[in-house]
Symmetry: C2
Subunit: 374 residues, 2 copies
């Protein structure tokens, strides 16, 4: 179980504190993504050094490999990956649809084939909870049925209703558990970008009384404006006294907009994936380190940034590592991008506490959109 | 310039100390290979933490990319890669032949094509020295002409003679330099596995009076026994008061044999390359972490090893990372293998100082050859 307390508020934005059995997490917070029981290119010690306090791991991937029973026998996911802080696991609902070529959704759950070896598998709401329990997660997510907002209204409505029925089954499965390994369980709302559907989904999910609530089914092809609008209308539909989690997105602009709308928890592969592709975040916007203009640039990636990549190396060296395909390129780039995201969250929180989040966000965006300058 | 002092001796084996402008290096010493201005998967801070005191970088690779003039303009290789300790650079002589598809050796030097883009290039003895100077290396290597021991005696003899003439030209080019960036210059002997040729090569090279001497042209397909024999007969032909460097090899057994023969400096890609392929060194021999037998093995890679991979993780996790193709796999494996090599050197040195190198080496090899047990 977890506790959540809002410590400061500015408009809809909140600075909170989430108590878990493995320490307190100050919100808004960004959770680095450790898909396969590792945040790509980073050690847990480095993540801790960057100020990461909670990580996300993927139920789908770990179910396929190495398998949750293997991880359970090895003492659970924390011990397996050497991370003592809280872990949030997704339900696998998104990946069974996005990664698995063949899948069939029924009332019972999702039949799918492993993207690794084609094995036929089945994921039910109860199964998703059981996998997360075997992993020993601190925060479980309900199995949901995400659909892109471009789907027909009837389909969105059906997916929403199925998500609610699955949420009730997840809750029941979770309530049957006891013992020290019982984690918190978060519900997920669906409904595309429709206010009517988001409202209905929120009512149904909130009625089930979860430890926290997430917005699902976003960033599946909608415009940025539509996402921001949907987040702004959906966040206040979730209980103010519980943590609110925006799943699987986005760019710094999206996170600031969502914080302004009252969201607390975030995860996204962008900082880590972009890092590996040489796309790096700076105060002045994103920079593509592969560009020839950095060939002999002795300046650090982002002047004044205290991360190791910026303190010790030049853009010229980072470009060299990228062009040469060196592992250290992915390491330093990931280090920097994660620092950027985590620091942005810390600054946003501090701004909320001091009642200056609105001007902080405006100032950040103005500089960020001024274009990559050096 | 460098200084070298032998502090203890046991048979031919020596414990020495090499003074460079960037700190003292205790020998025998293993130099991790930083081919492209980075030891693959490692930061300089991690290398320092492992006790690495001197690194090797590759003239050929850095000449092609990013180019030595770029590195010179950025303040030299130390600053570029953020390594304050001494750097030894090879001459590129080995790579122009092994990596470049088309190459033609003449009295003047080697004409070759870049393995990256096919550009026609030319490396002369003077050019090799100039590149290493631009990089700002602490120890330069002469351009040599390595041939496999299986080459005809006539060819080996010609290559040896050419190596001597090139060495004289390198020495002359090096002597024309002055200023603070002047590094030490090491000569290289050739001659395959032939005692007659090695003797002749050593006489010619030593007559030129270098700061240190290397054995080249080994580990190009000869048997282990032939290599050990050649090292044993060649090492004593090099001046006792100068550091002796065995280039580009080998397994732990080879290093111990070479230390016993009186060699001081070593470099090899094996610990780092094997790490990336999941082949890991333990006291009980090499272990292939991909094997199914480690799937649920909770034991550390090498019981009692203080490296981070062994302190924090199970074989099961290391196997998972390897099978999942994670970057952390290459990082932890490299960390461990380099620790193994560096620690072996430290233990060998300590044993020489205490006059027990022979039993130490015998004991190590007995355990090491006992097969991978756990």
């Amino acid at each position: 179980m977890i506790g959540f307390e809002v410590q400061a508020r500015e408009g809809e934005a909140r600075a909170g504190s989430m108590r878990t059995g493995r320490g307190v997490v100050e919100t808004p917070v960004f959770m680095p993504v450790g898909t396969q029981a590792t945040v790509k290119a980073m050690t847990p010690e480095e993540l801790e050094g960057l100020g990461a306090r909670i990580l996300l791991a993927n139920t789908y991937h770990l179910h396929l490999r190495p398998g949750e029973e293997t991880i359970r026998r090895l003492g659970g996911l924390h011990r397996f990956m050497h991370w003592d802080g809280p872990l949030l696991t997704d339900s696998g609902g998104f990946q069974v649809v996005s990664l698995s070529g063949l899948n069939r959704v029924s009332e019972e759950g999702v039949a799918f084939r492993s993207h690794l070896d084609g094995t036929r598998l089945f994921l039910s709401p109860e199964g998703a909870v059981e996998i997360q329990r075997a992993l020993g997660a601190d925060i479980f997510m309900c199995l949901d049925r995400p659909l892109p907002a471009t789907a027909a209204e009837g389909e969105l409505s059906e997916a929403l209703a199925l998500t609610s029925r699955w949420a009730a089954r997840c809750k029941a499965a979770h309530d049957r558990q006891d013992g020290p390994q019982k984690g918190a369980l978060f519900g997920i709302t669906q409904g595309g970008t429709s206010e009517v559907l988001r409202r209905r989904s929120s009512e149904e999910i909130v009625a089930l009384d979860f430890d926290g609530y997430a917005l699902g089914g976003l960033s599946l092809g909608e415009s940025t404006a539509a996402i921001h609008e949907t987040v702004a209308l959906s966040a206040p539909l979730l209980p103010a006294e519980r943590p609110r989690y925006l799943m699987g997105m986005g760019e710094p602009e999206d996170l600031l907009a969502a914080i302004g709308a009252g969201m607390d928890l975030f995860d996204c592969v962008l900082p880590t994936r972009n890092a590996r592709n040489g796309s790096l975040y700076t105060r002045h916007g994103k920079l593509s380190i592969k560009q020839a203009r950095y060939r002999e640039d002795p300046a650090p990636l982002d002047e004044g940034c205290p991360c190791p990549a910026c303190r010790h190396y030049s853009r010229a060296y980072l470009r060299h590592l990228y062009v040469a395909g060196e592992i250290l390129s992915m390491r330093l780039n990931t280090w920097h991008n994660l620092h950027f995201y985590l620091e942005l969250m810390r600054q946003a929180r501090q701004a909320i506490v001091e009642g200056r989040f609105a001007p902080f966000a405006a100032q950040f965006l103005e500089t960020y959109r001024s274009g990559q300058g050096s």
